[in-house]
């Protein structure tokens, strides 16, 4: 593999930016150039978070072009549906099946679609759809805060990349006292991919 475009999406506070940081570092560790890009600030408070990661021998733009995303990594079900049109035809979607209600749903202006309906829509568009129950697996690993590590585990299994490179990048990024729980979370995510 010498070229990958990733789009990480989710809801503010889910650890999307940390996960994309790690993914960019893995690209560099694999001997490629890597860039990542995101937007902080106003939109982050409970809003949508998007982060682009690109690996290639030479990367220009830090953001992907719509229609060229090889792997859409969605931390939330509705956000997977919102961003799936960035995928290249035949691309992969890794989705955490967690549902986080937006305010528009809570106040009654909108309805959150059924999980199956969203997954079917994703299935029709993705070359490969990988569903991960990140919340449950992270809780089993020891903390619900490790959802992003579970998802990276699943992503690493989808890509043809060594698990060690990911695992090392993760433990370098998180505080040492969370090493064990993150290693467990990573492996659980990796094993969850059939």
């Amino acid at each position: 593999m010498d070229k990958m475009n990733f789009l990480f999406v989710g809801v503010g506070g889910q650890g999307v930016l940390t996960a994309s940081d790690i993914a960019a570092q893995v690209g560099l560790d694999l001997g490629l150039e890597a860039k990542k890009s995101e937007v902080h600030g106003f939109a982050q408070r409970g809003g949508v978070v998007e982060s682009h990661v690109r690996w290639a021998p030479l990367v220009g733009s830090p953001t992907c072009e719509k229609g060229t995303v090889d792997a859409l990594v969605a931390f939330e079900l509705l956000e997977a549906a919102r961003w799936v049109d960035w995928l290249r035809p035949g691309g992969t979607v890794v989705v955490n099946t967690q549902r986080i209600m937006p305010m528009s749903v809570t106040v009654g202006d909108a309805t959150y679609p059924a999980s199956e309906a969203i997954c079917e829509a994703l299935e029709r568009r993705a070359g490969r759809l990988v569903r991960v129950d990140g919340l449950t697996l992270a809780a089993e690993a020891g903390t619900t805060r490790a959802i992003n590590t579970v998802i990276l585990g699943a992503l690493s299994a989808v890509l043809d990349t060594p698990a060690e490179t990911w695992e090392e990048a993760i433990v370098r990024r998180v505080p040492a006292k969370y090493d064990a729980v993150n290693r467990t979370a990573f492996r659980m995510g990796r094993e969850a991919v059939g």
Binding site: A24, S37, H40, F42, S61, E65, G67, M101, V105
Partner: protein, 608 residues
């Protein structure tokens, strides 16, 4: 980290902001000051981690620049960082600093926000360089951000003028590899030598200004001359049927979409290297300019009599992207790859929007819940911070908002012009110290009957939690002097000041009523409660809904808390959904509990 070549160089992924901090540190910067503002905030946060630099949060951008200017007059290398609209605040000093000149290098980082992701406008601050007649450097990735920052200090000292280092959101908040020398040698802070007096430069009375202006004009010519051969402007020869002039992050899009064509990459966007541009234009069949926001370079190139292809095909609105550059290229019939084949957006099901919302436990919630109840006979003049979200549903309690600190001045003007309504100004603590003090003094002086609500959450929250004079903790983590807002308001002559707990729903409402009854002069309502991201926020046991008691009235939904969800259970008569609380999100702030008319919400595990 990846080791390359010599053992001492490491390749590290850094954001543009981190790379600017690194470059400044490598350039021996001695003093740095900033007011937090997206996308510039992380520059000072990162710089404060380096030894030998004194980095601090200023109360606003003008103060930051003035402080940096003082340091530079004293011979130190100094940096002031701000978001694009922050430069407007600092512009009074910036324009004159061009005339005074500097001794130590003075670099002003302007972080622009094309796309207005976190800002009130998309102004293109390259214009400031032209307006103020000093150089502007425009890096295109993190490695250039590091190098250009170092160069900016050199240029500032070589030509004795401030230099703008212009970033954009896409540079500041992208990470790309930077070559870092390892190990970084620790550096001690070095005191300055005695001040070298130069009143004929630094005291800009009219006689000095008139004498310095020709110096400024000559300097521009000198910098332009320097830029003709400076490596920051470079030609990448390729297919000569098309030559593209570009700068900043736009260069990255050009080099991907228009790969193979000749490129003139401009690193110093003002003043432009005109001979180099002519030489480039003379050796290609057609010239195109691809730049983000305003046609800053394009207009100057056209003014040189050089034909530029396409009638401004590159959009002037919003952030550039690969797709927009491709679209522009296709529209102008420049030969490029067609746009990629797209996957259809999801249309089988309706996708609800996900607007930003006040966090669970947010100290602004009870205030806005109350404020909207008085909307009928009131006007709400807002300000910049998380509380700008008061404009969104379910509160919709904000009628005007233009710039930092403007809430108080606008409220005053509206009232003095004869508004019969209750006029509120809503301003945060950090914003109050930024630009709220002088309009409050003005409201007292000119006696307007306005109600100024200061939402004091003990942090600069929207930018991610920075300290300010009201917290007393410095950027370097030292405990300083905390300035209390209520005594400040009283000292400014405000006679009616209420201090309230941010989660006391009834108390806030009473204060609002009392403030509206004040007969003359401004009143201040200080709503105090720490942001949930501060260590001072007091998390309490989560609340739960007793579904037997809940009547599905919807009152709690109107506090706009992301932790309050619709339960699957509906009320048998109305068919409306009852409430439920997400225990993972709830912070136990009890605002929903207080607004529930039938006491269906209770706190778990006792009261504390």
């Amino acid at each position: 980290m990846q080791q390359i070549g010599e053992e001492s160089i490491m390749k590290v992924l850094l954001s543009g902001n981190e790379a600017i901090a690194l470059g400044a540190w490598e350039a021996q910067v001695q003093f740095a000051s900033a007011y937090p503002g997206t996308p510039s905030t992380e520059i000072l946060e990162s710089l404060s981690q380096y030894a030998g630099v004194r980095a601090e949060w200023a109360s606003n951008e003008k103060v930051a620049l003035d402080a940096a200017a003082g340091a530079a007059f004293g011979g130190a290398r100094a940096l002031a960082a701000m978001k694009h609209v922050g430069v407007n605040v600092a512009a009074d000093s910036l324009m004159s600093l061009s005339y005074t000149g500097v001794q130590g290098g003075l670099v002003v980082v302007s972080a622009d926000d094309p796309g207005a992701f976190s800002s009130q406008n998309e102004q293109d601050n390259r214009h400031y360089a032209r307006f103020g007649k000093f150089p502007c450097l425009d890096p295109s990735d993190s490695e250039e951000a590091r190098q250009f920052t170092r160069l900016a200090f050199d240029l500032s000292e070589q030509f004795h003028c401030p230099v703008i280092l212009r970033s954009t959101t896409r540079l500041s908040h992208s990470k790309s590899p930077v070559e870092v020398e390892m190990p970084q040698e620790p550096r001690a802070f070095e005191p300055l030598p005695p001040f070298e007096r130069k009143p004929d430069w630094y005291v800009i009375i009219p006689a000095t200004a008139r004498r310095r202006h020709p110096v400024v004009e000559q300097r521009l010519l000198d910098v332009a001359q320097w830029s003709e051969t400076a490596p920051v402007n470079r030609i990448e020869w390729g297919d000569r049927s098309l030559g593209i002039i570009t700068c900043g992050v736009a260069y990255q899009y050009v080099r991907e979409v228009l790969a193979g064509y000749s490129i003139l990459k401009i690193g110093l966007t003002y003043p432009l290297p005109k001979q180099l541009i002519r030489q480039f234009a003379g050796q290609v069949d057609a010239v195109a300019v691809v730049e983000e926001l305003d046609p800053f370079i394009e207009e100057q190139v056209r003014a040189m009599g050089i034909a530029v292809v396409g009638a401004e095909p590159v959009p002037r609105v919003g952030e550039l992207t690969l797709a927009k550059v491709r679209q522009a290229a296709l529209q102008a019939a420049w030969p490029v790859e067609p746009a990629p084949e797209l996957v259809e957006p999801v249309d089988e099901v309706a996708l609800p929007t996900r607007p930003p919302a006040l966090c669970p436990g947010c100290p602004h919630r009870a205030f806005f819940y109350n404020l909207r109840r008085w909307k009928k006979n009131a006007v709400f003049s807002g300000d910049i911070g998380c509380y700008s979200m008061g404009v969104l549903p379910p509160f919709e309690a904000m009628d005007m908002l233009i710039s930092m600190g403007a809430s108080v001045g606008m409220a005053h003007g509206l009232k003095k012009a004869g508004s019969a309504e209750n006029v509120f100004a809503i301003i945060g603590d950090s914003t109050f110290f930024h630009a709220g003090l002088s309009p409050l003094a003005n409201a007292v002086y000119n006696q307007s009957k306005i109600i100024v609500a200061v939402l004091d959450n003990r942090i600069t929250a929207m930018t991610g939690g920075q300290q300010h004079p009201g917290t007393g903790i410095t950027l370097m983590g030292e405990e300083g002097k905390r300035i209390e807002i209520a005594p400040v308001a009283r000292a400014l002559g405000v006679e009616h000041v209420w201090e309230l707990d941010a989660w006391d729903v009834a108390g806030i409402n009473q204060a609002l009523k009392a403030a509206m009854a004040v007969e003359a002069g401004p009143a201040v309502i200080l709503v105090k409660g720490a942001c949930v991201f501060t260590p001072y926020f007091h998390r309490r046991p989560v609340v739960e809904v007793d579904l037997e008691t809940c009547t599905a009235c919807g009152s709690c939904f109107r506090v706009g808390c992301p932790a309050i969800l619709k339960s699957d259970e509906t009320h048998p008569k109305s068919g409306r959904h009852k409430a439920s609380i997400d225990p993972l999100l709830c912070t136990g702030c009890t605002v929903c509990l207080q607004v529930c008319p039938v006491d269906a919400i209770y706190q778990t595990g006792g009261s504390e």
